[in-house]
Amino acid sequence: MKYNFLLLLSAVLLCIGCEDKTGTLELKFLGSYDGAPLILGEMVEYDDYQLQFFESDFYISEISLTEGSSITEVKDIDFVDFTNTNFSLEGAENGFSLVYNNIETGNYDGLRFGIGVPPVENMTKPSDYNSDHVLSKPGYYWQAWDSYIFAKLAGKYKDEAGTFDDGFLFHTGTDDLFRTREGNFNISINEESTTIIEIIIDHEKLLKLQNGDFYDIQNNSTNHDPTDPVPLQMLVNNYSDAISFQQ
C-alpha cells in the first residue's frame, strides 16, 4: 500500500515536471513625438510648421523571441493601433499592449518582428478571414496594389492660411515594402509572471528623410504609388529606425 502511494506520488511529480513552464510576454507600444507621448489631435512642431496626428496603426507579424540561432514563435500576426489609446495623455502614457500567454520560460537574447503583412499572408484577402482575425479588416486592403495596407499614418498640417484644414495620409504596402525589426537585448520569461517590453515609436523620426531632413508634407501629403521611393520607402525604412526598445 505504502509502495503504491509512493509510486503514485512519483508519477504525479514526474508528470508535473514534464509540463512546459510558461510565462506571459507583454509588448507595450508607446507612441512618441520629440521625446513626449504622442497625443492624437494635439499640435506638434514639424520643420517650420505644425502637424496633428489622427491615425497611427500597423500590422506586426512573425513576432518571435530569439536565442542564438533558435527562434521561439510568439504570434504570426497582430495589429497595433494607437487610435483608441492615444487620445489623452494618460492613454498615451499607458500605450497599446499586445499580451501573449503561454510563452516558454527561459532567457532569450532578442525580439524580432515584421512591420506589415508577410508575403504569404499578403496573397490572401480580408474576405478569407473571420471577423475576429486582424487580417479581416477590409479597410486595410488596397485593391489597386493587390496588397494589404501595412501601416497607416494620417493627420493634418497647418497650411499657409494658418488652419489645419489639409490632411496628410501615408499608407504602406506590397511585398517589397515588408520590413523586419530586431532588438537584441536580454529577455527573461519567467513562470507565472509577465515580462513587459516597451516598444517606443518616435513619430517625428517616421516622417524624416534618411539624411535627417524634414519631408515636405505640405506639398506631398498623400501617396498611392508603392514604387515611389519617397515617401513610401522612406516611411517603411523609418519604421525600423524609429522603433526603440525598453524593459
Binding site: 489622427f54 487620445f87 471577423s131 479581416s136 485593391q143 493634418k156 490632411g167
Partner: protein, 364 residues
C-alpha cells in the same frame, strides 16, 4: 331551433377564442405542433466573407420564416400601423427614401433609415453610430423606441402569444413547449435570422469582377477612379471606405459633411457617443454602396437627394472640422469624370433578392 343553433355556435366560438388567448400564468401547450427544424441552405456569393452566425442562433428555414413574418407585421408597433418594413422597404433596398423616418407618433428621428441588404456581414457595430454589436441586440431596440414603433415588449409578446399564427411559428422555429416560452429574445433571434439572408452580390460589378461581364467605357473609367487603378486618372478616393465586395469597409469616418470648429462642436456626435473618444465625434458608419441608386437620400441625415450631390460634395473637399478624414480634399474631377463615377455607382444594382420567397412580404 335556429336560436339554439346560434347559441351552440356562439359557445363554440367563445371556447375556440378562449383557447387562443393563453392563460398568463400557465400559457398554453404547443407540443401538438410539429417541431422539425430545417437547416437553411445559404446562397452566398463566393467572393463574400463568411457569414458569421452566432452558435446559439443557427440559421433554419423556420426561424427565417418567423423573422420574415415579424419583420413585415405591423403588430410590432403599439398601434399596429407600422412594421420594420415601413422604414425598410424591400423595393428601396430596404430603406424608405426619407431623410428622417417617422415613427408611429409622427415624430421624426435625426438619422436616415439604413439599408439592411448584406447587414449580416457587418461585424463592427450596427446603426449609423455602431451602437449595437449584433443583429440580435439591434432587433430589440426599434420596438420600444419612441420615435419608431413605440411599443413595449411585454405587451407585444402578449399579443404574439395570443396569435395562433405566431404560436405555430415560434413553436416551429424554436421548439418551445408553451406560449410562456415565447420571448422577445427569441423574436429578435428570428428577425436577425431573416435579416442575415437578405444578401445582394449579383450586380454588374460582380459579374465584371468575376470576368463574366463587362463594363461600358464610362463605367470602367468610373471604376478606375473609384479604386485608383489608373494613374492617368484622378483618384476619387472612394475605395478607402467602400471596398469590394461589400462596398463598405465597415468603418466609421468623418466624411466632411458637418462643419465643426472643435471636436465637441458636431451637431450629431455619432460614433463618438459610443466610444467616448472625442476623435470619433462626427464619425458615422461608411454605408455599403450596393443598390445605392435606390437608397437615397444620402448620408446619415439624408442631406443629399441625389448621387450627383454626393459626388459634388466629395469633389469639393467637404466642410472643415478638426478630424475630417484626410481623404476628403478637393478632387478636381471634370463633369465627364463625375458622370463616369456616377455610371460606375449604378453597376452596384442587384435586386434579385426581391424574387426570393423567403424575403418577400408574407402578408401580401
Amino acid at each position: 331551433m335556429k336560436q339554439l343553433s346560434f347559441l351552440i355556435l356562439l359557445a363554440f366560438a367563445l371556447i375556440a377564442c378562449e383557447s387562443c388567448d393563453p392563460d398568463p400564468i400557465s400559457g398554453i401547450s404547443l407540443t401538438h405542433i410539429e417541431y422539425s427544424p430545417t437547416s437553411f441552405d445559404l446562397e452566398k456569393p463566393a467572393n463574400f466573407p463568411e457569414l458569421e452566425i452566432p452558435s446559439d442562433n443557427p440559421l433554419t428555414v423556420e426561424k427565417i420564416e418567423l423573422g420574415r413574418h415579424l419583420f413585415y407585421d405591423p403588430i410590432l408597433s403599439a398601434d399596429s400601423t407600422m412594421s420594420c418594413a415601413s422604414c425598410h422597404l424591400p423595393e428601396l433596398a430596404f430603406t424608405d427614401n426619407l431623410a428622417f423616418s417617422e415613427g408611429i407618433d409622427g415624430i421624426a428621428g435625426n438619422r436616415s433609415s439604413m439599408s439592411i441588404v448584406n447587414v449580416g456581414f457587418y461585424y463592427t457595430g450596427l446603426f449609423w453610430d455602431g451602437r449595437s454589436q449584433t443583429l440580435e441586440d439591434q432587433a430589440i431596440l426599434p420596438v420600444e423606441d419612441p420615435i419608431e414603433l413605440h411599443n413595449n415588449w411585454p405587451e407585444l409578446m402578449e399579443k404574439l402569444r395570443s396569435s395562433e399564427l405566431y404560436q405555430r411559428l415560434f413553436r416551429e422555429a424554436f421548439g418551445i413547449d408553451n406560449t410562456l416560452e415565447m420571448t422577445k429574445e427569441l423574436a429578435a433571434k428570428a428577425i436577425s435570422s431573416f435579416e442575415r439572408v437578405i444578401i445582394s452580390g449579383d450586380a454588374k460589378i460582380d459579374r465584371f469582377t468575376l470576368n463574366i461581364g463587362v463594363l461600358t467605357d464610362e463605367e470602367l473609367e468610373g471604376f478606375e477612379m473609384f479604386f485608383d487603378i489608373n494613374p492617368d486618372l484622378p483618384d476619387a478616393e472612394c475605395g478607402h471606405c467602400h471596398s469590394y465586395p461589400l462596398m463598405t469597409t465597415n468603418e466609421f469616418r468623418n466624411n466632411g459633411i458637418s462643419e465643426a470648429d472643435d471636436l465637441a462642436d458636431f451637431p450629431d456626435k455619432g460614433y463618438g457617443t459610443l466610444t467616448g473618444n472625442p476623435l470619433d465625434n462626427g464619425k458615422f458608419r461608411s454605408p455599403s454602396l450596393r443598390n445605392i441608386q435606390l437608397s437615397g437620400p444620402y448620408m446619415h441625415d439624408g442631406r443629399f437627394e441625389t448621387l450627383r450631390e454626393v459626388i459634388e460634395h466629395y469633389n469639393s473637399g467637404g466642410k472643415s472640422s478638426p478630424n475630417k478624414d484626410p481623404l476628403i480634399y478637393p478632387l478636381g474631377l471634370t463633369e465627364e469624370q463625375k458622370d463616369n463615377l456616377e455610371a460606375f455607382l449604378h453597376t452596384m444594382l442587384d435586386t434579385s433578392y426581391l424574387d426570393k420567397d423567403y424575403i418577400t412580404n408574407p402578408f401580401d
